[in-house]
């Protein structure tokens, strides 16, 4: 079983966790012994980190609302539609009619890109995340 080091997704401690992979699926979580935070152990959430990754309720295709129902569509349709709607609102109501919520669960790179998207592409500082919640 291959063991790959990553960082726990839950609290701000930031434990080093090895995820064990078998047949392309993540089937195990275990602590790094030398990681400065985890030091060989995890809390109960960290030990079960792998359990949600392959949960059957994972979203696996883009969804688009049609006739007031979310239905599976291809990536191009979902992205084209989103880009069009964001542009329309920006052009008719101004950039500040748009707002973005980024995520304390996403990486630095993704947060950086989303705020860049907000400021450079949409032209608004309306971006925040749930730091206070």
């Amino acid at each position: 079983m291959e063991q790959i080091l990553t960082i726990c997704v839950y609290c701000g401690c930031g434990c080093g966790v090895y995820l064990g992979k078998e047949n392309g699926r993540v089937v195990a979580s275990s602590p790094s012994r030398n990681h400065p935070i985890s030091q060989g152990n995890l809390c109960v959430k960290g030990w079960h980190l792998h359990e949600f990754i392959h949960h059957p309720e994972r979203l696996t295709t883009p969804l688009l609302r049609k006739d007031n129902k979310l239905v599976p569509v291809g990536w191009d349709e979902a992205l084209d539609y989103t880009a069009r709607r964001l542009s329309e609102i920006r052009d008719s109501n101004g950039p500040d009619a748009l707002g973005l919520l980024s995520s304390a669960k996403c990486s630095n790179e993704e947060n950086y890109l989303l705020q860049k998207f907000s400021r450079a592409v949409l032209g608004t500082n309306n971006i925040d995340h749930c730091a206070r919640l």
Binding site: Q39, H55, L59, L79
Partner: protein
């Protein structure tokens, strides 16, 4: 965070997590550390076993409070009064660090004048904390050479959250407990990358790295890199967006990996706002309560299906290795954003996340030396790390505060927005429990965790339970001015009469139907820790 930035010039944990093992005295306030930050609690308990003194400030008798030498069980929302009282005692006992105050701080006179007006009996009445206990705690904290003050959302999630934090900073500076190893002020960050999201300026009022939106030089730097002018007006905060109303000026939203329906206060208002939007796009790994309202939902890759960096509570930027390929048709959020940008006519092509990090290093001075090759082969680097040769910074403000001198900002007690009264006689405190995390999107889908804890419990004191004829395990209804939820009673002496406690992990019992939208005017942090409720048994 705003409070700490005013005082010290920077709003992050001043020390490293492992430094906690070597403190002499540690105060933990508004943090159920053993459940919400188990690794930090592990360090605190190790320090206690080594002989350190532990002071816990919390209305509830948490597991850590049971290990504490002094437990100050204050009335919710009276932190400023309590700390002001402790500072007054420190002054009276001659335990202030005059030399530190003189050399490193400014505006002390204002604090001193305010503290001398305080009547300690009045403080005891406001906080419900015994004067003698307050005295013991103040002396323990001030006499030790290395005292650390850890706090969490129990401090910030009040309408006076910023002032709460400033008061903590005041107390640390008053006793010279900053600028050194094992001593400082440590806000414990609740999410794996909440620090990083702030650092990257997923915030409405600053540019990445807390750089000023208004500074011409900085704006120029960003313009050069991004090719466009950065908008000047500060944007809306989360609550300004999610509480903006059904047909407000906000018309479209893009939500990446958050679930405001459950996480934000006053759910009814949030739902009305989101439902009234012309367009809502959500990117997430599950069909969250928020995603169910969206016009478009993007299936995002989970943390195991992509690489990137996250920044923990002690400012440690760490690399996450990709473990598996994205499942189904999922794509990483970075790809989704880049594809949208391109469709809107903005070139946002990066070969890899390493290339994004290079841009971050270029633009954010405290991340100047952070590159994937360095982060991948190490346990990460703690910012500030200004250049490639810099080893990172385990504790902040060594020899000087980031903002020059430490600034005292006196604060006064302020009653909570919604104190209990006749119709709603109980104070509801919300927080987390050990087995679950935030809105439960992930942990509720972990079979083992959900087995351990599968329903929302309401912690209630036996006195209040008896008054309402509630037995342990009864289904009860909890009602505030904004709504009603159903959950199960857990009778416990660990909560005081007049208070009840529950969590926001369970979509079946969405506690944020009840909470108030009242928030701190500066940090915009909602008052999750105090709202008035009543409880009744549900007849079976």
């Amino acid at each position: 965070m705003a409070g700490l930035a005013t005082a010290f010039g920077s709003g992050a944990m001043t020390n490293s997590i492992n430094e906690l093992e070597d403190v002499d005295v540690v105060i933990v306030s508004g943090s159920n550390t053993t459940e919400a930050h188990p690794q930090i609690a592990r360090r605190i308990l190790a320090a206690v076993d080594r002989g350190a003194k532990l002071i816990v400030i919390d209305p509830r008798r948490t597991a850590l409070a049971q290990e504490a030498h002094v437990h100050l069980a204050l009335r919710p929302g009276t932190d400023i009064a309590l700390l002001n009282g402790m500072m007054r005692i420190i002054l009276d006992e001659g335990l202030a660090d005059d030399h530190f105050i003189e050399m490193r701080t400014e505006n002390f006179i204002a604090l001193r004048d305010q503290l001398f007006k305080i009547d300690l009996d009045e403080i005891a009445a406001i906080t419900g904390v015994d004067r003698q206990l307050m005295h013991t705690a103040a002396c323990l904290y001030a006499r030790a050479y290395k005292s650390t003050f850890c706090y969490c959302l129990g401090i910030t999630q009040h309408i006076c959250g910023t002032n709460n934090v400033q008061t903590i900073a005041n107390m640390a500076m008053l006793t010279g407990n900053v600028e050194k190893e094992n001593a400082g002020v440590d806000p414990l960050r609740g999410q794996n990358n909440v620090q990083g999201a702030c650092d990257m300026a997923a915030l409405p009022a600053c540019l990445p790295g807390y750089q000023s939106l208004a500074d011409m030089q900085i704006r120029q730097k960003f313009k050069q890199c991004w090719g466009v002018d950065v908008p000047l007006t500060p944007g809306r905060t989360v609550l300004d967006m999610t509480h903006s109303g059904h047909n407000g000026t906000l018309r479209g939203m893009f939500v990446m990996g958050e679930n405001p329906i459950l996480s934000d206060p006053d759910q009814t208002k949030v739902q009305a706002t989101l439902e009234g939007l012309d367009f809502l796009a959500v990117s997430d790994i599950f069909l969250t309560e928020t995603a169910q309202l969206a016009h478009v939902v993007f299936p995002a890759a989970s943390f195991a299906e992509k690489s990137g960096t996250v920044t923990n509570s002690e400012r440690r930027v760490q690399y996450m290795h990709q473990v598996i390929e994205p499942i189904g048709e999922c794509k990483p959020d970075s790809t989704i954003i880049a594809e949208l940008a391109e469709r809107m006519g903005y070139e946002m092509y990066y070969e890899s996340m390493a290339e994004v990090m290079e841009e971050i290093a270029l633009l954010i001075p405290i991340y100047g030396g952070m590159h994937h090759d360095r982060l991948r082969s190490s346990w990460g680097l703690q910012w500030p790390c200004p250049n490639r040769d810099h080893p990172g910074t385990p504790f902040l403000h060594k020899h000087y505060f980031s903002g020059g001198k430490g600034h005292f900002t006196p604060a006064q007690h302020q009653e909570p927005f919604e104190p209990p009264g006749d119709a709603f006689p109980l104070t509801l405190i919300t927080g987390r429990i050990y087995h679950h995390y935030h809105t439960g999107t992930m942990t509720r889908r972990c079979a083992s965790l959900n087995r351990e804890s599968d329903k929302a419990l309401l912690q209630i004191n036996p006195v209040d339970a008896t008054t309402s004829a509630i037995r342990n395990g009864d289904l009860v209804e909890l009602t505030s001015r904004r709504g009603t939820i159903r959950l199960w009673a857990q009778i416990s002496e660990d909560i005081r009469p007049g208070q009840v406690y529950t969590t926001f992990h369970f979509s079946e019992a969405p506690v944020n139907l009840l909470t108030t939208g009242a928030a701190d005017p500066i940090a915009k942090c909602p008052e999750f820790k105090v709202c008035a409720v009543k409880v009744a048994r549900v007849e079976s």
